[in-house]
Subunit: 286 residues, 4 copies
């Protein structure tokens, strides 16, 4: 049933390139638009957005669909696509799948008549992304930290999806993992996994590397003041993040901000994850 | 504040022994009742239930508080304590902490005037118990399976608390772990952890050992019929469990029912977990 | 080429049962002797030792071939087989594969004319046995220790084959692993694996469980005196072992002697390992 | 006893910077030479090579001491130091510790009268370096591979120090690890660790990433021809390495040559490892 549709992939970064290639490799008819600077799409028809919308039943928008709320997210294209009624009307009667769709859906009342789905709201995408983020963060820390992660004292703040995946991976490469969390059941799980559970109020020691996964300020000036000048901090949470950046700067601590790791470090895996998630959405809404 | 109370531990198994010892070691005043056959309580005053209730502010009941709904769960005592108004009235105005309290609370209307708390409803206890169950199950499988778990094909059904802990532990000792789950996000996590995700409908191969953690019948006659005569099945879920026992018997498969592993395999850790949980409850309701 | 031979399996424990079954399952012609109390051999011809020797080209003896140096190791048989010239002469011109053959080969000068091979001298068998020992030790500790291994402080003495496998497995199930070793490069590896390296002279703390893998006394009275009454000691090394047993008794410490774990806990895996090793020997000496 | 000596660190890369800093932090009197472009040495006296040799009892040379056999290895200096009699005579009566000293010792007969030690010959340095190499290789692969390592099929060729460390680390981050080795006991260990053992002659499948650790050509044209265009190959062995580079180029495979990872990816950890090793050498030769 999936086979008979025509899929149009519009805008986005390397993940969309891999999404397009993977869907084509699965035997689907795929067209792409606004990905001119991407590589590896030679065999796929590249068309303008209007033609794409006209030719395809299902339109796949990027993650995020828009960054500024005004134009489509098209980093691999010279074309700037304003999000207005003219854009929205193209998708009338179509199925549209995109990531973080909220801002886009507010750009025109015409979106009300479109079947729009947000694949970033899906649990399996968030879970997969968390593992990709953890792996990317590990790679980043190995590259940036002049010591070794193995046998070092590493702190993870937060035990959500990303924190869990980080604890497992760090332990797997021989680090001594400390993880700070609020929930008592998280502290129990951290301990049983062989890591050291920490309450935030007890964060008084220095660590070699700190990975923050919490979007609210848990690494306060006071907690940062316990760190050494060579402690590396990696910010994985979305803005405003959990690190008091001013205090970090004042203390001379090195902070590496690392947003969007899946797309930057593992675009193929991230694109294939989007593909799987869209397949699930299509199946469930067929 | 905790220090000034007198704690009475009434009934239960080895876990309550360790609970009593650990609380006394923490400096609390502790009395015990209906634990005569337990060891290591020599230094603690052993009294009858009435005196215990009279002397103590906080009463700690076992997990489960009752098995049959009619008598208190007192496997280490000759005394049988009927659950009736005479029993309930003893605790009027007291704080009572027990596990799986529902059946007990139905035995007398007088329980309505008791401050009763169910520590088994606490997330941290369930999480800790899941890790203890997984560890006990590992120990059981090592003892019972005549092959080696390392490098064997092991299936875990379910990816809840126990399933997750089992996957981590089994992988940690070198097994090839397959895990069946329904939720798409669970399948994603299983794969990212380095295990092989399975949908239930695809369970068509033979495994060396199968751990069931699902309380509804997922290991049906048909799926069991794919197993070899030497496949070992371990039932970890509560009744009725996930294994079609009749079919297993007919097929000559070996099923090891393994309820209540924390109490049987790790009573000290389980008792200390109950202690920590009760401390949390006391702090929060102080 | 292997197929044309007739294999005779003589004496031994459950491992030999599984060895016989696995070789038969591989399509070999197999006969067995002195395994009457074993189960699962129904389809294989059971004969006396003389007939076995007469009918077979390759004779497979147990591990160890003899315990007392005077009789064959036949725990699953009523028959006692003295090791003398009458026994040795049976194998003249045959190929004989056994484990720890030294004592047996001294029982008669006639062994000089037999092609005898010691599979216990093979690196792959020792390596495989080390992993089986570690897994069995883990199972034993889970069963015997009333706490949980996960999150506990566990000491492994020695970082040879068994010590390495134990460190990996214990870490894999969430324990905090300390490992004592003499070689500087071992201490480096222990640390890099995420365990805590210890020099023997620094063993001054208490542990929850101690696994000894060193055959010389490293757990002296002084080091044992640092342990708690509930510390569990598991002796995995061959006699005289590494634990000062007298001191342990005096101090009231619990010592679990655990020799021959592969044969007792994982007889099938151990038997299949012997099979693989014998196949390698046969290939190399063909 | 160590305290009274004066240590002179001459030439080298970032590792020597960290070596100097760590020794100074340990309380030693340290002077440095030919490290002008290094950072973080402000508090240490920087002198010329002659003065360094004159002032210090122990001279610490880089790893490798020389690359071309003609000049000292001084990548952080403008100064070129020829290895001749004039250089060698400086160290008469001194203790000199360097890495891969063989070529240097052949540059002058005067080295015969110097107490020269090669720290790269030490087992603990090689072991530590192997773990640093494995961690660096992991970081490199995460950065270079557009998919995810977790849940991917990864091949490691060789099960020496680096291969072992890689297998552990890769498994720890959720990869499906295959490891090719020749020794039967290595194949047994690989399997028991939960990885898939491969004989070289059976390498007929495609992998996502291949790490080579073998210095002789094991990844032949034929074996490379089984790979996909997007397979990433990482060469960790010293020249000539194990990958048929011509064939790889012809097949369009991507090969990432990754020599000297510890110095490049983990200079601090590598420098501290050199420090520890030199301390051991000094202790043993005191």
């Amino acid at each position: 049933m999936l086979q008979q549709r025509v899929y149009g992939i519009l805008g986005g970064d390397k993940r969309q390139i891999y999404l397009a290639r993977a869907m084509a490799a699965d035997g689907h008819e795929v067209r792409v638009s606004c990905l001119e600077r991407g590589e590896g799409l030679d065999s796929l028809p590249q068309v303008g957005p209007e033609k794409l919308a006209a030719d395809c039943d299902c339109i796949l928008l990027p993650l995020p669909a828009t960054k500024d709320g005004k134009t489509l997210n098209t980093p691999l294209s010279e074309v700037e696509i304003p999000l207005d009624d003219n854009f929205a009307v193209l998708f009338s009667g179509k199925k549209v799948y995109g990531g973080m769709m909220e801002k886009l859906l507010q750009t025109s009342p015409l979106w009300d008549s479109v079947s729009a789905f947000d694949y970033y709201a899906r649990e399996e995408l968030l879970t997969g992304n968390a593992f990709l983020t953890a792996e990317g963060a590990l790679g980043l820390a190995i590259a940036e930290y002049e010591g070794a992660l193995n046998s070092s004292r590493i702190l993870v703040t937060g035990f959500g999806r990303i924190g869990k995946a980080l604890c497992m991976g760090l332990k797997g490469i021989g680090a001594r993992v400390y993880c700070a969390a609020r929930k008592l059941s998280d502290l129990t799980a951290i301990r049983a996994m062989g890591c050291t559970p920490m309450r935030y109020e007890d964060l008084k020691d220095a660590y070699d590397v700190i990975f923050n996964t919490v979007p609210t300020e848990v690494l306060t000036a006071q907690r940062l003041s316990c760190q050494r000048p060579d402690t590396l901090l990696i910010e994985l949470a979305s803005k405003p993040g959990g690190i008091d950046l001013k205090a970090a700067r004042r203390l001379g601590l090195r902070v590496k901000e690392a947003p969007s790791l899946p797309g930057r470090m593992s675009p193929r895996a991230a694109g294939e994850l989007i593909k799987d998630t869209i397949y699930h959405l299509i199946e469930e809404t067929a």
